[in-house]
Structures are given as structure tokens and as C-alpha cells.
């Protein structure tokens, strides 16, 4: 056998195409946002013509979190009309995040949830590959939402758990935690020094919803906008803490980063912190209050004198 194994599409693609066609034909939605197969692999597609519903695919290359199109910053998308959105479990958590923060009206979107067995780290491949420890997106390991609940249509068959990656995100975070303080500082400042301040991490994030980002405020200039290590530290720290207790671990920021800063380690650490301190785990239940912006009278305060 040569080359990696080609994986079939996940179950439910036929249903997905049928549901999409019916939604468009009935006028229930004006556009379906899903994935299609293109020259360079899977990519997002907007479908408005019922006849084109057969373009839709769902396989291990469908890495993109399409919820970023529901972000209120992109009101030109919501102006298209009612949206039918194809979501994986992690994407559904991002929808819940928008609903929780009153950034989206539930009536405006029809959610087509797909039962997911994990995706690849990179979706730009001509054929879907079977998941292996080498190619699986590390965040998929241990996913608690392979069957989304925040849906209007739930399609596909229950899928087996994705394989364990060569090194899990938790193991990488723990390895960093074990380093002495100075080495952690050296690691992160080195990583952040690569940042070119393209803000792709912010643009792709479905929950970075500010109309005007703090980094673009210049009077006063809170975060230096030049791409040098000091401003980069401030920016990457701020981006991360603004997502504390909100990040759904869809991995898009790291996948989009053109210089390969391991943002998922930072995001995962914040998830661990809010879990340990406040017992919070991101879910696709919009009623589950996010930890920052909420409080309890008996919150831990061992760090306060």
C-alpha cells in the first residue's frame, strides 16, 4: 500500500444535500453555508440555488468553522436573509457563544448539525484522508461534542472517536507548564516575535465580535501596532484573554496564523484555568453562562492578599 488511506465522506452527505435543497426550495432559508470540493480541497461555499445543493460535502477536510460568517461584524452576510448553516460540534459551540452574548437571533439561522468523527489538521487536500495520529487536528482528540445538540437538523451516523494525536494539546501545555518561568518567557516571546500583526487570528475567530477592536484604537494607543516584540506580546495576550471562557477551541486562529504561532496552547491553557477555577467548559448550550462577566460570592481568591 502506498500513500495515506483515502477516507470516504462522513455518513449523511446525501441527507445534507436533500435537507439543503428542501430548505432553499421552500424559501425557509435564502442561503446555505457549507463546504464544497474545489481544486485545492474543501472550502466554504454559499449556495442560493437549490440545484446546486449537490455541491455540498462533509468529510475529514471540512476544517473551517463557518460560524465566523454569522459574526455581527459581517452584517453583509446576515443581509442575505435567513441562513442555513452546516455545523460540526465545535462550530455549534460557537453559535451558542453568539446566542449567549445576544449577537445572533436564533430565528435567523437554521442549523444543520453533522455527526463528526474528527477532521484533519489541514483541509487543502484533493481527497479526504483517513485520520491518523499524524494528520488529525489535535483538538479533535477528546472532543465532547461530536454530536451537536444545538441543531434544527441532526444528520449522519454516530462516528468513532478520532485517533489520539502524536502529542495532545494538553500534553504540550503540560510540557510548557513544567518549564521554569524564564524558559516559558523565552518560548512565548520567541513565538510572539514572529507575529506580523495581520490579525488573521481575529478576523477568522467566530467570537471576536467587537465592531472596533482595541488594537485599532489609537487615542490612546493601548496596544502598539508595530510588529515588534513588545506590541506583539501585548496583542497576543489581549486577544487570548478576550477569549477567556469564550473560546470554543475550533482551532481556526492557529490554522490561519501565517507564521505558525501555537495559539491553541494559549487558548487551551485559558480553558483549563476557567475549568479549574469556575468549573466551566464551553458547550453548545446557550443557557450555560460564560465565566467572565459572571461571578460567585465564594470565588477562589488565593492570589489576593
Amino acid at each position: 500500500m502506498t500513500g495515506p488511506a483515502i477516507a470516504p465522506a462522513y455518513a449523511g452527505v446525501d441527507e445534507l444535500r436533500r435537507v439543503a435543497r428542501e430548505l432553499l426550495e421552500s424559501g425557509e432559508v435564502r442561503v446555505i453555508i457549507g463546504w464544497e470540493d474545489a481544486r485545492r480541497g474543501a472550502r466554504p461555499v454559499f449556495i442560493t440555488d437549490p440545484a446546486e445543493a449537490d455541491k455540498l460535502i462533509f468529510d475529514t477536510r471540512c476544517v473551517h468553522n463557518l460560524v465566523t460568517y454569522l459574526d455581527p461584524r459581517r452584517d453583509h452576510v446576515s443581509e442575505l436573509g435567513r441562513i442555513g448553516l452546516v455545523v460540526k460540534g465545535c462550530d455549534a459551540k460557537a453559535v451558542a457563544g453568539l446566542l449567549r452574548e445576544s449577537q445572533l437571533s436564533r430565528d435567523h439561522v437554521v442549523l444543520i448539525g453533522m455527526r463528526c468523527g474528527g477532521v484533519l489538521e489541514e483541509g487543502e487536500l484533493p481527497e479526504p484522508l483517513a485520520l491518523t495520529p499524524e494528520n488529525v487536528a489535535p483538538r479533535c482528540y477528546g472532543c465532547d461534542n461530536r454530536e451537536p445538540t444545538l441543531t434544527d437538523h441532526l444528520l449522519g451516523e454516530p462516528q468513532p472517536e478520532p485517533p489520539r494525536p502524536v502529542m495532545t494539546i494538553d500534553e504540550r501545555v503540560a510540557a510548557l507548564d513544567d518549564l521554569p518561568l524564564e524558559e516559558r518567557w523565552a518560548f512565548w516571546t520567541e513565538q510572539f516575535s514572529k507575529c506580523v500583526r495581520c490579525y488573521a487570528c481575529r478576523q477568522v475567530c467566530p467570537l471576536c465580535i467587537c465592531e472596533r477592536c482595541i488594537v485599532e484604537k489609537t487615542q490612546p494607543l493601548w496596544i502598539e501596532s508595530a510588529a515588534h516584540p513588545r506590541g506583539n506580546f501585548s496583542w497576543n495576550l489581549t486577544r487570548a484573554i478576550h477569549l477567556a471562557g469564550r473560546c470554543v477551541d475550533c482551532g481556526e486562529c492557529e490554522r490561519f496564523c501565517p507564521v505558525g504561532i501555537p495559539l491553541s496552547l494559549l487558548n487551551r491553557k485559558l480553558q483549563q484555568i476557567v475549568h479549574e477555577r469556575y468549573g466551566y467548559t464551553a458547550s453548545d448550550d446557550p443557557e450555560n453562562a460564560a465565566p467572565i462577566g459572571d461571578y460567585r460570592l465564594d470565588d477562589q481568591q488565593e492570589f489576593i492578599k
Binding site: 518561568l181 501585548s234 484555568i273 477555577r277 461571578y295 460570592l297 492578599k305
Partner: protein
Amino acid sequence: MNSQHSDTFEPRITAFVCNWCTYTGADLAGTSRLHMASNVRIIRLPCTGRIDPLFIVKAFERGADGVIVSGCHPADCHYTSGNYHARRRFAVFHDIMQFLGVDPRRMTFSWVSASEGAKWKDVVNETVANIRELGPYEAYRALAPDAVEPWPEAVDGLTPAGDQEPAAKEVAS
């Protein structure tokens, strides 16, 4: 650690305090003539809930060696819940800064009420002692070695250096 700094190094410490408790407490420490280190510059804000973690980052950028954040005890907030929100925000900030390699001793968080002038003195003295031990925050300044803006130097005269220089205004007028 870094004990070579202890003799000559004067730590620069920025304190972000709430108007209703810690600022009044620090005032009480002053009117009570309590002796304490003079390395702390206080920035008064309405509430700990008004203190954005970016303030701390900015203080380090401008050359602070340490930061104090202090406000009303739980249940004492003038705005009912500002300190509870701040407590969560700074818990997360405290932990993630450690993950990024910032020594947690560079940041002191405390509750100091309006009647706790003596506690404020202790918080200040402990923080100054800690920072003296750690030495100047060279690691942060090394991020932009040429860009650190001058810090008001006149600790003993109690007048920040920036306030002594009205010359530029006179030229303008």
C-alpha cells in the same frame, strides 16, 4: 536571587487602586504618618472593575518593575459587584501571565479597605521587598530596549520629573 540589586536598585511600582477603599486607605496611611517605602505611584480609579488587565501590561511597557492592584474587600464594593467581576478577571490574568513566563511576584493583588492604612503599608512594603529581590524587570524592557519611555525619576523630592519642565509650554505661547 538577584541580591546584587538590593543595594542600589529602587523599584518602580505602579498601583492601580479603587477610589472608595484602597485610595482612602492609602490616604489614611499617609495622614497617620506611617512609614513605608516611597517606590509606589498610585493611579486612582473608580473601582477595581474599571481596571483593565491592559493597564498592567501598559505599566510594564512603560518601565514598571512591579504592579499593585487593590480595591474593596468582597461585599464592600461601592458599585455592589465591581470587585467580584475584577476578582475573576484578575484570577484568569494572574494564571495566564504565569503561563507566559511572568513572575507572579511582579503583580500584587490585595483588598485594602478605607480603614486599613496599616495593611496598605504592609502591602507596599512587602511588594517593594519582593521586587527588590527580583531586581529590575529587564526581561520585559528587553522586548523593546530602545522604546521604554522615561519614568519620572524624582522619588525623594515627591515631584515627578515630568512636572518640573514647563519650558515647552512657554515656547508654544
